[in-house]
């Protein structure tokens, strides 16, 4: 469903992406690995509309996304998290999450109508508010933050802040979920558990949902992915099932190193 074709992007002299192409199918989990600075984050910034590519195209169900604004792309169904945290630090954990739901969900109806119904105390507004709370709580419990829902986002430990980002995008599950290092700062066990939860969600969700996962924990990625894309120097150097990638000597050399 998501097709990335021939994307190139450079910043001044830095060629961050060179002719990148691959696709993500329904309910597929695609892992993206590659050395630091290989262009992984840049790629998802292009897909989510924050960067405009120099060339190439991104389509979701044959709708081209490259000219769309990030907000519109989110409403098309591509949800992402950030490698460097982007939380509203002065809001509570719960409020951060609710905002995620509100913002994503309102795209589907008119803003004006939303406000009006709220101003006029219409039952629909009330219902939506409760719904938002419920969904937010659910998302928080999914990532294991239920107990901290009243804390300010700024006061969370690093790993918990990463969890919160994830919860925020999960309030309204996107069709393509893109995660940039979701487990940074977590211990092996915690990371395992979190990734399994996400994978579960992807595999069991009612609507079809796919996952594009950027992660440096190689064993974990290879373990859960259906396919893994290896990037180096802005280009895709391999795109195959995990079993093959795991034994690719090139991948060992540039990425895993040692031994």
């Amino acid at each position: 469903m998501l097709h990335i074709s021939n994307i190139t992007k450079s910043f001044g002299g830095v060629h961050a992406l060179k002719d990148v192409s691959f696709s993500v199918g329904d309910r597929e989990i695609v892992g993206v690995i590659g050395p630091n600075g290989s262009g992984k984050s840049t790629l998802i910034n292009v897909v989510s509309g924050f960067y405009r590519p120099d060339g190439g195209d991104v389509t979701l169900d044959d709708v081209s996304l490259v000219a769309m604004a990030p907000a519109a792309i989110r409403r098309q169904g591509i949800g992402r998290t950030f490698q460097n945290l982007r939380l509203v630090e002065k809001m509570s954990v719960l409020d951060n999450t609710i905002a995620g739901y509100y913002l994503a969900q309102t795209g589907t109806r008119s803003l004006l109508w939303t406000w009006l119904s709220e101003l006029l105390f219409l039952p629909s507004a009330r219902k939506r508010k409760q719904e938002a709370k419920r969904v937010a709580r659910e998302a928080l419990s999914r990532v294991g933050l239920s107990e901290k829902s009243e804390m300010l986002a700024a006061n969370l430990s690093y790993a918990d802040q990463k969890r919160l980002e994830l919860a925020r995008v999960l309030t309204l599950p996107p069709r393509i979920l893109i995660l940039d290092e979701p487990t940074a700062g977590m211990s092996v066990e915690e990371a395992d558990e979190l990734i399994r939860t996400i994978v579960d969600l992807v595999k069991t969700s009612d609507n079809s949902m796919s996952l594009l996962l950027i992660e440096h924990r190689l064993d974990l990625v290879l373990d859960v992915s259906d396919r893994a894309v290896v990037m180096d120097g802005g280009a895709v150097i391999n795109d195959d099932v995990p079993a093959v990638i795991a034994h690719d000597p090139e991948v060992r050399r540039i990425y895993v190193g040692g031994e």
């Binding site: 984050s41 910034n45 924050f50 950030f82 490698q83 460097n84 982007r86």
Partner: protein, 293 residues
Amino acid sequence: MDYFLQQLVNGTGVGAQYALWCVGYGMVYQVLGQLHFAHGDTLVFAAFVGFTLIVLGMPFWIAMTLATVLAGLLAISVERVVYRPLISRNLVFMAFVAAMAAGFMLRAIVQFFWGVQPRNFDEGILPTGSWDVFGVRVGYLPMLNLVVAVAIVIAFEQFLRRSKHGQAIVAISEDRSTAELMGIQINRIIALIYGFSGVIGMIGLILYITNFRTLTIGLGFAITLKAFIAAIIGGIGSIRAALLGGILLGITESMVSAYMSSILLDATVFGLLIVFLLLMPNGLMGQKTQLKL
């Protein structure tokens, strides 16, 4: 043509005056990102003290030197007493309001001791004549302003470039807590900047006094406002920008009243500035902030 040149010179003179105020103000703004809204009032307060010293018989230049020192100290104390407690709590807007209020209080003190009458200085502190350059009148004092402003900017930029302070200041403006982790004594450096802003602003005010010979209470806020506008037009990022912003503002004002309407001066000048900002959203020399996610 002569008319145009004359007006250009006039505008540059006004702009050089703004620039000198703006360099001091802009320094705080450019390097610390703080709107120092007590700037003008601290200067005017110090100048009134200087005026009193003159009335008491002190020679002009000694009195004004003392006033300059006082301006620096006042600026440092405003930072210490008003800004720091609030900014360390991350209450930037509150700090801005409190600074305004500190300005109000200084103004009230001036009014209490010196009344609302403008104070006038004697003539002849500096020669006020002008050169005649191909029929265009170029005043000594506006040119002196310009030279001093440029000299200060160059000196300060050199100082920043050569000393470690330059880097430290940038670091502080980006992220205080991490800057502290580098071993930077942030409070000391901030005090330094405020002190400089007071001293440089005061130099500007002294030149103003030698030229126009009057001092009014209302001048303080006018200084702050012009400095603010000039700093924004210049763009956050360098002190040089403040200088350019000041001069550009002066020239724009002058050209608008020379060729358009003096009745709608503010409306026209601001209209132009807005258009300019919309075209150059980061000011004249401001850095475009790139987005990296």
